[in-house]
């Protein structure tokens, strides 16, 4: 059950509200890539791409792509004023040193402790972790944007992840089409419910207890 573009944009819009002026933010693929479209004009943010761009801008117009200027997914981007390029070691140095304020990414499962599982489905092909482990472990704040349930309708927010972990206890905030959860030391805290969903619907579709 994929989400329509309206719903994806609503999730991205809510995530954009987490971005504060001056932040360095790394975006994953999927819904996170929609986040920049929802940022107010008065917010100055440097988007970081782990292949070596700080200050990534919007996609170029068709015909104006530069094959040597792409994001980590291999798609053409532009840069904003004040941007810089660096090699991969420096780029990950920014992440490990705690200079990347926020990473916004997708996930297959998140546990009530904030364990993140977003890289392997057992029995399927093993793609490799890429830069996900370092981002999850070292970005100052980790925000997950995802469907509330999987294609079979099973909860993706669970007591314990059934899939191999990308990184344990790293997620700070989960935003789905149904609402917003904060991961706290006392487990999950449901902060917001999005219309048209009800508390009961969220409870039914969430695989663990949570506070409200």
């Amino acid at each position: 059950m994929g989400l329509g573009i309206d719903v994806r944009n609503r999730i991205a819009k809510r995530a954009a509200e987490e971005i504060k002026n001056g932040m360095v933010v790394n975006l994953g693929i999927g819904i996170p890539s929609l986040v920049p479209n929802h940022l107010p004009d008065d917010i100055n943010v440097m988007f970081h791409a782990e292949n070596g761009i700080t200050g990534m801008g919007p996609s170029p117009k068709k015909g104006e792509e530069d094959e040597n200027l792409c994001n980590a997914g291999g798609f053409p981007v532009t840069v904003v004023s004040g941007a810089s390029y660096c090699d991969s070691a420096i780029s990950f140095g920014m992440i490990r040193r705690g200079r990347v304020d926020m990473t916004i990414l997708g996930s297959l499962e998140v546990s009530e402790n904030g364990d993140l599982a977003n890289w392997i489905v057992p029995g399927k092909k093993v793609p490799g972790m890429g830069g996900a482990m370092e981002l999850a472990q070292k970005a100052k704040k980790v925000i997950v944007l995802m469907n509330h349930v999987d294609k079979q309708g099973k909860p993706k927010i669970v007591k314990e992840c059934s899939l191999p972990l990308t990184s344990a206890r790293c997620v700070d905030l989960i935003i789905t089409e149904m609402g917003v959860f904060e991961v706290t030391n006392n487990g999950l805290h449901l902060k917001e419910i999005f219309p048209p969903y009800s508390f009961e619907e969220i409870k039914t579709n969430t695989g663990c207890d949570f506070h409200w």
């Binding site: 291999g74 991969s88 092909k125 490799g128 370092e134």
Partner: protein, 230 residues
């Protein structure tokens, strides 16, 4: 163009440095910044049983992916192979050994090899069997780390925007990626470049890779694959 350091060679001369069973470290990220002319040279020469070290396996018809898809590699050390389903299939079939390393740690392992260090200490993926399995652990000032060994290779192949005859290099935007690190890690480094300029035409301040790391310079015939976004 003057060739005072005898570093500027043809692609045919460059190919004399390659043989079956060797280890090649390659620059590039999703094919961007991988050297197209050298990769085609390797395909044409038919070298096989290669060990490849680099960020990823590109796409099936892009970058190092062209070599992987032809079954020329027996082992690859990379951070991901997801954009190249052929690599995944070869791995599943037991025809390609894959060692996964987290992206930034892989970059640092290549850098460590390139700057004459034996290993680095890392706290990435310590509770993950795929990353930490079989690796030595070390306690330093009360904190535990994994010992991540340095990587070197027989030949490094890289892609740059400009070189001078000494092999001083500058790169183009995000095509820099792993290239400056890979440039240092090979016993022999061959740089494929879009443009060769005279000595003195690159400002000393703007050079990213000093020519001391570069053994040979090959003029590029340019990217000849179709990008995924095209």
């Amino acid at each position: 163009m003057e060739n005072a350091f005898n570093k500027i060679i043809t692609i045919e001369q460059a190919m004399e440095n390659f043989h079956d069973g060797m280890t090649i470290i390659f620059g590039g990220f999703g094919g961007i910044g991988s050297p197209p002319t050298i990769i085609d040279g390797l395909l044409e020469k038919g070298v096989k049983e290669l060990t490849l070290i680099g960020n990823d396996t590109g796409f099936p018809h892009i970058g190092i992916g062209k070599i992987v898809s032809e079954g020329r590699a027996v082992k690859i050390i990379a951070s991901h192979i997801g954009s190249n389903p052929v690599a995944g299939q070869l791995m599943t079939d037991g025809k390609l050994e894959v060692e996964f390393s987290p992206q930034g740690i892989l970059a640092e392992r290549i850098r460590a090899g390139g700057v004459g260090l034996g290993a680095i200490l890392s706290d990435i993926g310590m509770d993950n069997e795929m990353v930490a399995g079989g690796k030595q652990r070390m306690l330093v000032e009360g904190k535990e780390y994994l010992v991540e060994t340095a990587l070197t290779g027989d030949v490094s192949i890289i892609f740059a925007k400009k070189a001078d005859p000494y092999g001083n290099l500058i790169y183009d935007k995000s095509a820099r990626n792993t290239n400056p690190l890979v440039a240092m890690a090979g016993n022999i480094t061959i740089a494929e470049v879009e443009e060769i300029v005279s000595l003195g035409n690159l400002k000393p301040d703007e050079i990213t890779t000093p020519g001391v790391f570069v053994d040979y310079i090959v003029p590029s015939k340019g990217v000849n694959w179709t990008w995924a976004w095209e």
